[in-house]
Amino acid sequence: MNHLSDELLNEYLDNALSNRASVEEHLAQCMDCAARLTALQTLFAEIESLPEVTLSRDLAAPVMLKIKGASLSPRWLTLTIVLQTALALIAIIITAPLVKQFAASSVSVLQPPSLTEVFIRLQSQWVLWLDMLSQLRMPVMPEIPIIEVSSLYFLLTLAGVSMVWLVGNGLLLRNQIKQ
């Protein structure tokens, strides 16, 4: 009688055989193969009964810390990007009439202004702004002329937008460097 091969016994115990009946039939008649199967079963049991070793440190705290850290920066970055976009839109809305006005006045001039003309124009604009600012009164609501409030609002908003834009870019850049 031919004995069962070790490979076949392995596959039998691993439930990887389609025809288990023929193996079982042989095992019922062959003491030698049955003994080899028992030895293999004992080995399986020994491997699988290996007790668990306990951890020397708790993993929950460091894992949570890492996860929190990983999820914090993208949220910050997303917020920054959203804020930057919103402020950019606000800046465009505020400055659009001025840009339009400036563009309209520039188009009428066929020849480009000389450097001196640009300098004089900027200077007069600057003087105008300073004059407007000097006339700015403390906020007694009914007395505030609309144009003065707009100018202040305009300047403060632009300063705010620039600030947030710069800080936001700094954050984005820092994140890129980290990666």
Partner: protein, 175 residues
């Protein structure tokens, strides 16, 4: 009050509840660490890899099938992480004295049982990486031959022969 099921904790963790994921880690950290320890055979590295397993698993939590049990899934992730780690570093594992002096096993185990367990650990650690991998996946992760072949990206015939040879070597060492 009953402890929440793994499924509930996963759902909460998906919504950004870090405490819920921390609870999951606490529940499964020992079994995950043991997978890493059996494969890597080095306590400190096994703990690091167990931690890495939970971090990676967190990023894959959205794709986790809630109909499946979390335990077997996270242990498979752990096996995968450790096998990749071994593969990338090609660590030649040699058992150090830590195994003999491991005091973290069950205190009620008898001296003989502890000795036998130590012998099994040493025998497992002495196996080549490809043999250790199939033993881990078949005996501890209870994967089928097909699943092992898929996991290790090797032919089915290699799974069978590696398992057969690994067990033969183990039997010889444990005589």
């Amino acid at each position: 009050m009953d402890a929440p099921l793994d499924r509930e904790l996963i759902l909460r963790a998906r919504r950004g509840d870090h405490e819920a994921y921390g609870e999951l880690v606490m529940r499964h950290q020992t079994s995950v660490f043991n997978v890493c320890y059996r494969i890597l055979q080095e306590r400190s590295e096994a703990e690091d890899m167990a931690q890495e397993t939970f971090i990676r698993a967190h990023s894959r939590l959205e794709s986790f099938d809630l109909e499946r049990a979390f335990g077997p899934w996270i242990r498979r992730v752990a096996a995968n992480v450790c096998l990749n780690q071994l593969e990338s570093h090609r660590i030649t594992v040699e058992l150090d004295d830590e195994h003999d002096a491991d005091e973290n096993q069950r205190p009620e185990a008898t001296y003989e049982a502890r000795e036998r367990n130590e012998q099994i650990r040493r025998a497992l650690a002495s196996l080549p990486l490809n043999y250790r991998a199939v033993i881990e996946l078949r005996h501890y992760q209870e994967m089928s031959y097909d699943e092992i072949a898929l996991e290790l990206k090797i032919p089915l015939s290699d799974v069978k022969s590696n398992l057969f040879r690994a067990r033969k070597l183990l039997a010889e060492k444990l005589k």
